[in-house]
């Protein structure tokens, strides 16, 4: 078998996805054995012109991480799509928007206001804001306009596989590399490197009847270290999140925030989580239920931490 040509690229992300690939350690050498990395800016010097010169379909697999926040991101995504046989949305940002898409709770203007006018460390007496065009003595400098809304990769180009996680757990990345090496790829559109079952399946904690009288924020809860966090009144999104990460946050005694994304049959991760959490409130009294629900500090930012661009009802 000829060596595969693999590319990796990021858009609006944090670089954690690249680190996750490095974290496969020895596996990365196996990758080198089966594939040539033709394009990976974090580790390999490459030329944009090479990429552009490539023929359509010349790259076998592109791992694309990060969400789409500027025209540039979209442009590269389209270019990579054209040049690649397989496009993998790598990591939560590419799959579903990720944490950068929390910016969709606000707008560009408010971000500018906060960063350039309200930040207490600002010394900006003339109220300067970044401009798309700035005249300097030597010429004109331009900046790209930010999109108003952060998008998922598959809102811009067709995606063949989704590899979720923030970042994807390196063991699952290694699994996916094995699958690629074996050549036995699942049907297009599949989620890879994650389970079809919710995180609860992997969660080592004990479960009993779920009846919650009160929701507590983690810092005020006395976690016993072994009982289902939800049962202890600590909001955990694991019930509405794909497994695959081996419940590492929960093993560190912290609740899941849903980075592996929505379950195969679910339509909206936040709605699923919310309906599950709402179902376990131990009361029939609407007033008490309202009181308990209000104890959930930040439903939007908790249940849609990673997937705002994916929610069915757009804000």
């Amino acid at each position: 078998m000829a060596k595969l040509k693999i590319a990796k690229y990021w858009a609006d992300g944090c670089g954690g996805c690249d680190v996750s690939l490095l974290d496969t350690d020895a596996k990365i050498l196996e990758v080198a054995a089966i594939a040539d990395i033709v394009f990976w800016p974090i580790a390999v010097d490459g030329k944009y012109s090479d990429l552009e010169a490539a023929k359509p379909g010349e790259i076998d697999i592109t791992f694309f991480n990060g969400a789409i926040h500027t025209a540039e991101h979209e442009h590269i995504a389209q270019l990579m799509r054209e040049k690649s046989k397989i496009m993998v949305a790598y990591g939560s940002c590419a799959c579903m928007g990720g944490i950068p898409s929390l910016a969709n709770t606000t707008d560009r203007e408010s971000i500018f206001e906060t960063v350039y006018h309200l930040a207490p460390s600002n010394d900006n007496p003339r109220g300067v804001e970044p401009q798309t065009r700035t005249k300097v003595p030597e010429g004109v400098l331009s900046l790209p306009m930010l999109y108003e809304r952060v998008k998922r990769l598959d809102e811009c180009v067709e995606v063949d596989y989704y590899l979720p996680g923030c970042p994807p757990f390196y063991k699952r990345v290694a699994d996916v590399i094995d699958v690629i090496a074996s050549g036995k790829l699942p049907p297009k559109g599949s989620v890879v490197g994650a389970k079809d079952k919710a995180l609860c399946e992997e969660c080592p904690r004990e479960r009993h009847e779920k009846k919650v009288k009160e929701f507590k924020r983690p810092q005020f809860a006395q976690d016993d270290g072994k009982t289902c966090l939800l049962e202890q009144g600590i909001v955990c999104v694991g019930v509405a999140t794909r497994g695959g990460c081996e419940a590492r946050c929960i093993n560190a005694n912290m609740p899941c925030r849903g980075c592996y994304g929505l379950l195969p049959e679910a339509m909206d991760q936040g709605a699923s989580a919310l309906s599950a959490v709402a179902s376990i409130i131990d009361s029939n009294d609407p007033k008490e239920i309202e009181k308990v629900v209000n104890q959930i500090a930040d439903p939007l930012g908790t249940f849609y931490r990673f997937g705002l661009p994916q929610q069915r009802v757009r804000i």
Binding site: A198, C200, R207, H208, V239, E265, A266, S272, A276
Partner: protein, 663 residues
């Protein structure tokens, strides 16, 4: 990250448009609708008929299924509540699974509520498009049948339960009649006369009670309660706890000597606190069975460890102080709940003086007082033994009142008239009735009201505001003063009377919620048991095989209660006579590939149909118990549970169809 979904196979859909006379066709342009429908994807044929539910209409559907080899059928007619079964059967007779059929409600949802014909046509198109889109995703479901145990459990030995028990026993069923008091009879046994005919309540009730006691097919289990119910329609298992009576009924002859000799005196609950009873006691003289029980809370022996006077005098040696509760499990196929009502304590309305002034009585207290076997032997007397010179009867005590019970208690107007009559008959007192509206709706009721008007009772159109003993002048001293406005004369009234009778609201039994949970039925607003449908299935409940009768369903008078008792009996009869029941196929099912075992669903199921499979670490649903309510499917964060016939795909396809002009 949507799951890969398979495109549904090609379908042959037949659509049948019902005119419903002019009900639908008068508003919706049926030919235009037919033309539109014909072009929808998957639609093989479209036909229309004046009355699709008629025999020719059904034949049309059957013939078309065969002729066109239809795989799915849609009928656009009235509400599925009316004729879904009709058309399902038609489909089945033509060899098509009944779940491959959809009914579009083109009448209640459209023609009856839409004036603009163009809009009505548009809406009909939208609804049919939705049904067609959904039809692709429908799957045939298997309908299972189970046998029905002919035995019946009736909970509650009031008039409703008595009537149902007698009817069913006559039909040859074995009836377990479980009553928590030591005698059957219920509230009716406390009444004096019944309105509007003024029959003596005991005269019409006791013969039935005796029949129950004697009937070979009735197992009368008094002083017993249901601990646990499991199983499902036709196959219930019920654990009944026989409370320790401390009296061996086999040996007891009912001679009554023990009651005579017992030194303890307690206010009698049966007499609503107006008279006394002993620590060993029967409820009343005509009790069935007429055998006493020991009230262990108040019995000197149980408190202090000695006394045993009753034992000393009991010749048959029937007293058994060591008796313990015993639990017996029975198997029955159907259950009737006839648990009756509770009379609201008006103590929550302090302005009416209940509990504060001795001559303010509840309605049941008055019944007991007026009853010739009651504490005053039927005499209407004040606390000091005098006969009252004036009595006020206050209607709507805690009924029709958002602060207490929003509903009308339905019987108060009539018994208030009866009380007025009895007072007039037995005393020289003047009677005032404070009412908001006079509700006399039954057979002979208005006539009874008319009779009372002639009997010189004063009717005051206004709700009494307060009762006080604070006299402002000599003539008020020693009286109860009722304040209220006569709204018709627009005068504020200050009425000094000797006695005040309240018409306390009728409430569900205090443990109604608990009983509902045990039998997996629901409670409606106000806490009364919820029937399956107020008009179409008034004695059935959401739990198949469990029926309700009498005041546990809503406040009602004796004629209605007896009628419902018989209705419940006939429903049970029909069920047991058939001998088999179909289990609803539209149950929920767990996808084992998707269930993570988070156990969210477990505590949510109102029918306790879900259990945790410890081996597979996932949830499992018992088909026979599941009612397909969908609560678990909605809550399941994995969407690993889906409700058959209402899958997400089906619902979304229908929505998509309704909302999207192009499907």
């Amino acid at each position: 990250m949507a799951k890969i979904t398979k495109k549904p196979d090609k379908e042959k859909i037949g659509v049948f448009l019902c005119h419903c006379g002019t009900n639908i066709a008068g508003v919706v342009d049926i030919p235009a609708l037919a033309g539109y429908t014909r072009d929808l994807p998957g639609v093989e044929m479209v036909d229309e008929y004046k009355f699709m539910c008629s025999q020719p209409g059904q034949d049309l559907i059957k013939d078309s299924i065969k002729k066109h080899k239809l795989t799915k059928v849609i009928v656009a007619a009235c509400s599925p509540l009316m004729h879904e079964n009709t058309f399902r059967k038609a489909c089945e007779e033509a060899g098509l699974n009944r779940y491959c059929f959809i009914m579009v409600n083109n009448r209640e949802h459209n023609s009856w509520v839409t004036e603009d014909k163009a809009l009505a046509l548009q809406k009909a198109k939208d609804l049919i498009r939705g049904a067609v889109a959904r039809a692709f995703w429908l799957e045939p479901l298997e309908v299972k049948e189970v046998g029905v145990n002919p035995n019946v459990l009736i909970l509650g030995g009031g008039i409703a339960g008595i009537q149902a028990a007698l009817d069913l026993a006559e039909s040859g069923r074995t009836v377990y009649l479980v009553e928590r008091e030591q005698s059957i009879g219920g509230n009716m046994a406390k009444f004096d006369k019944t309105f509007p005919t003024l029959d003596c309540a005991a005269c019409i009730l006791t013969p039935k009670m005796v029949s129950v006691g004697q009937h070979p097919n009735i197992k009368l289990w008094n002083y017993a309660e249901v601990d646990e119910v499991s199983g499902f329609v036709g196959n219930f298992k019920v654990k009944v706890r026989h409370k320790a009576t401390s009296v061996n009924f086999e040996k007891c002859t009912g001679c009554g000597i023990c009651q005579e000799k017992c030194p303890v005196k307690r206010p009698s609950e049966f007499d609503e606190g107006l008279g006394n009873r002993k620590a060993i006691y029967t409820l009343f003289a005509q009790a069935v069975p007429n055998k006493p029980v020991i009230d262990r809370v108040n019995c000197t022996y149980y408190i202090k460890g000695k006394c045993k006077v009753c034992e000393k005098f009991c010749e048959p040696k029937a007293i058994d102080f060591e008796m313990k509760d015993s639990v017996e499990e029975i198997e029955v196929g159907s259950i009737i709940l006839a648990t009756g009502f509770h009379l609201w304590e008006a103590g929550q309305m302090p302005e009416l003086g209940m509990g504060k002034y001795p001559n303010v009585l509840t309605s049941l207290q008055f019944e007991r007082m007026s009853n010739s076997s009651g504490p005053t032997l039927g005499k209407i007397l004040l606390k000091d033994g005098r006969e009252p010179e004036s009595v006020a009867i206050l209607h709507c005590t805690g009924s029709r009142d958002v602060n207490y019970h929003e509903y009308c208690s339905r019987v108060c107007c009539m018994y208030a008239l009866k009380f007025a009559h009895l007072i007039k008959e037995k005393t020289k007192a003047h009677v005032y009735n404070f009412y908001i509206d006079m509700r006399c709706f039954g057979k002979g009721y208005e006539e009874f009201y008319h009779r009372l008007l002639e009997e010189n009772v004063t009717f005051i159109r206004g709700k009494a505001a307060s009762v006080t003993d604070r006299a402002e002048n000599e003539s008020e001293s020693g009286k109860l003063i009722v304040m209220g406005e006569d709204t018709l004369s627009q005068k504020l009234l200050r009425l000094p009377v000797d006695m005040v009778i309240l018409t306390n609201a009728i409430e569900p039994q205090l443990d109604a919620q608990e009983v509902a949970r045990k039998f997996k039925i629901s409670c409606a607003g106000g806490g009364f048991f919820l029937e399956k449908h107020p008009k179409l299935a008034p004695v059935a409940t959401a739990s198949d095989g469990v029926f309700i009768a009498g005041a546990c369903q809503s406040p009602k008078d004796i004629p209605d209660t007896v009628a419902q008792g018989q209705a419940a009996a006939s429903a049970v009869f029909a069920l047991t006579q058939r001998g088999k029941v179909e289990l609803e196929a539209t149950t929920a099912i767990v996808d084992e590939e998707l269930c993570s075992g988070c156990e969210i669903c477990l505590s949510l199921c109102p029918y306790q149909a879900i259990s945790h499979n410890a081996e597979k670490k996932i949830s499992a649903i018992n088909d026979a118990l599941c009612k397909g309510c969908g609560t678990c499917a909605a809550a399941c964060p994995s969407k690993a549970i889906f409700a058959r016939h209402y899958t997400n795909q089906q619902i979304l396809a229908e929505l998509e169809g309704v909302l999207n002009e192009r499907i």
